[in-house]
């Protein structure tokens, strides 16, 4: 009945108990708040069953922010341990716990923070940028979100029931095989990544079809905003890479569940095949993370330089080149694992090549700023941080693309510093720039500017202080994932500096939380009445803040790149034509239920509760079948209703 779930699974150490307590208190607080404000129906109708990508986008961001807190606390714990665990002291974490924390940190940050934050923004923005009313497949979009939420939930639940994986965020066999990791940890990892991975795959298909098929009339590919281009490229990467991940995780699951020998070290298994396949996915994955961030900067920099983007065509070609090349470099993640010099050299050269289009992009942004009238508001501060942090990361990447150099640097802290530079510098700073920039569009009021700047500076300075020591440590021979080292190595001072940097980032996060609270308090003074607070260039700025459910009462006619800018120049921003009925998707609870059943399937399989897994599987099939038999999936907003909403906006 309970499989391998027993009371033992609920025994956690002090730190995890603390985390569990925080989660329980948080949940109680939210339930109490919703009950007190009588908002349960509102939550169900306006959010949980909504198929509006603007709502779904906000939900993605909320879940990701929660996971960011978890992942960041993981990071602080790792820094603290490495600062004090020298010589006779072994810090406050056991080795086993330390391993779980760095595994959870990586898994959380990549799958549930970076991907969630970016998908969230894109959900909101892409239909608006292309002049469409929705994504191509609204129901599938909702299912994507719920699968993502289920993956996140599994990671959080592992803090209370059982343990998380301790095999690193990519779970190499044979360590991740049943023989060496018999517990539930790797299974939690497998299911959370597999489930959210399916969500990502169908989201990729959704954005791909949306962009190719639903652009406003007149918007040819070469007139699309750059964020749309990079999203298209990201979608292509997702569509092809995530199926490789699905296959690989399935094979590892089979090894653990039904005794196959894909990646075991005996009976003809080949662990290196896992490493090969997981990185064939893994490399495109990092471009999936960073390309939307590049797109965000391509929107922010022109607006805050008051000058159009320099070299649009070369930006597009650079994006296309990156998309293609990113499928041809993956061996650089395992140069040291046995391939010969010819294979290593080929992939080394391909890796160097991919730096070229990225460099083109950086120069294009800088040339956009040149001779522009730059406004240094918060989004531009984030951009400056990106230029220094990401470029450092990029250059150290090219350094390590030389196989013989990589033999020294592989799995050292130099590597850790490299990818944090690119991910934090690129993805995180990009997201924060985007969030600040589009916040008024999403919520209807601007964020407090000064606190935003302080947050950005703390993050940027904190980042450099936290990670530059790691570059040095890597050169001094420090390996990654060490929970203890000898005094004679002389590493401790640098770890102390790094910990201080992490604290500075924490202060930055504090400023962001403060900024949010104060901005909400001051929202009436900072209301965005025009819909265009930054003098923007793209179509989303032509709508009200926030936009109505249907985005555009009249689908715009696009004549040029930077469509809204062109409309403003021609004084043609208001379309006063006849209003028409608009079809919008009806709400549906099935996305939420697919999520519940996916959770049952995952949790059941992890704990060998086969009846629960069966319930989950059947539930998913039933929900999907019900949806696919439903022909009544839209409701009509009458022309009268639309007119009412639009005239209320102009009056305001």
């Amino acid at each position: 009945m309970f499989g391998r779930l027993n009371l033992e699974a609920f025994h956690q150490d002090v730190i995890e108990q603390g985390a569990d307590l925080m989660m329980v208190l948080g949940a109680i607080f939210i339930v109490a708040l919703l009950t007190y404000c009588k908002r349960w129906t509102w939550l169900w109708k306006e959010w949980l069953t909504s198929l509006d990508p603007k709502r779904i986008g906000v939900m993605y961001i909320v879940v990701s922010m929660v996971m960011l807190v978890k992942g960041f606390i993981d990071a602080l714990m790792l820094r603290a341990q490495q600062m004090i665990s020298v010589g006779d002291s072994h810090g406050y974490l056991t080795s086993s716990h330390f391993q779980q924390i760095f595994t959870a940190h990586g898994t959380t940050m990549i799958f549930f923070v970076a991907m969630g934050l970016l998908f969230g923004l894109l959900n909101f923005l892409i239909p608006l940028q292309i002049g469409a009313r929705d994504v191509a497949f609204p129901f599938v979009n909702a299912v994507s979100f719920w699968l993502f939420a289920v993956g996140a939930m599994l990671v959080l639940i592992s803090l209370a029931i059982g343990k998380f994986s301790a095999t690193g965020w990519v779970s190499y066999p044979p360590l991740s095989e049943l023989q060496y990791s018999p517990g539930v940890g790797v299974d939690y990892w497998l299911w959370s990544v597999q489930v959210s991975g399916v969500g990502s795959l169908i989201s990729g298909i959704n954005f791909f079809v949306t962009i190719l098929k639903m652009r406003a009339p007149g918007m040819t590919l070469m007139k699309m905003p750059m964020l749309t281009w990079t999203t298209l490229a990201t979608a292509v990467l997702i569509i092809f890479a995530f199926q490789v991940l699905t296959a690989t995780l399935t094979m590892l699951s089979f090894d653990r569940l039904i005794g196959t020998h894909f990646f075991t070290s005996d009976f003809g298994g080949n662990p290196m095949m896992y490493i090969n396949l997981i990185w064939a996915w893994g490399h495109p994955e990092v471009y999936i993370l960073v390309l939307p961030a590049f797109g965000i900067f391509s929107e922010v920099v022109p607006v805050f330089s008051q000058k159009r983007l320099f070299g649009y065509a070369s930006m597009v070609w650079a994006t296309v080149a990156i998309t293609l090349l990113s499928f041809g470099v993956w061996l650089h993640h395992f140069f040291t694992m046995g391939a010969g010099p010819n294979a290593n050299s080929f992939f080394g050269i391909m890796t160097m090549l991919i730096a070229v289009p990225t460099g083109v992009k950086i120069f294009n942004w800088l040339f956009t700023m040149l001779q522009g009238r730059v406004i240094f508001k918060t989004p531009m501060i984030w951009f400056l941080g990106f230029i220094f942090a990401f470029t450092t990361g990029g250059m150290t990447g090219v350094l390590m693309s030389i196989p013989s150099v990589d033999f020294q640097m592989h799995n050292s802290l130099f590597l850790i510093a490299h990818f944090h530079s690119t991910i934090i510098g690129g993805v995180v700073f990009g997201f924060f720039a985007g969030l600040t920039y589009w916040f008024p569009k999403i919520f209807g009021f601007t964020l407090h500017e000064r606190l935003g700047k302080w947050a950005a500076w703390c993050w940027i300075l904190g980042f450099f202080i936290a990670f530059f020591p790691l570059y040095v440590l890597g050169m001094m021979g420090a390996t990654r994932r060490l929970d203890h080292y000898e005094t004679a190595a002389g590493w401790q001072p640098l770890f102390v500096v790094a910990a201080f940097g992490a604290l500075l980032i924490a202060i930055g996060v504090g400023f962001q939380v403060l900024q949010l609270i104060i901005s909400i308090k001051q929202r009436k003074e900072n209301r965005d009445a025009t819909g265009d607070p930054w003098n923007g260039r793209t179509l989303e700025w032509s709508t009200s803040s926030p936009p109505p459910e249907y985005n555009f009462a009249h689908i715009p006619e696009v004549k040029e790149r930077d469509a809204f800018w062109a409309m403003k120049q021609a004084h043609q921003t208001h379309n006063t034509g006849k209003y028409e009925d608009i079809h919008v998707p009806k709400n549906s609870p099935l996305g939420f239920f697919v999520g519940i059943f996916a959770f049952c399937l995952s949790f059941g399989t992890i704990w060998y509760m086969w009846w629960l897994a069966a319930v989950g599987m059947i539930g998913i099939i039933v929900c999907v079948t019900i949806r696919l038999c439903d022909d009544d999936v839209e409701r009509v907003m009458s022309a009268h209703e639309v007119q009412h909403i639009e005239t209320a906006r102009t009056r305001a």
């Binding site: 095949m273 391939a339 294979a343």
Partner: protein, 100 residues
Amino acid sequence: MDKQSTYSHWIGLFFSLALIIGAYIVVIRQWLSGYILIAAIIALALGQALVQLFCFMHLHQEHKPRWNLMTFLFMGLVLLMIVIGSLWIMENINYHMSPS
């Protein structure tokens, strides 16, 4: 369902059967061996796939812009990169890491 489509489907069936029977006989009768056999089987399989893509799935009849075709070609490219890349890498590792 128009005449052209019906015609196309029957042609597709005919060629698919011919190719699969051909491949089957080549192996059962052991007419070829070694690399030539592998090349022949690959060619016959690809032939069948193409026949079905054109005769059953009408890939060539798509109107412009030919998104289906482009997606298919890009998929093919990525597939070749990953499959051939993987086979090369694994062979390479196997060779270099085997005890001599």
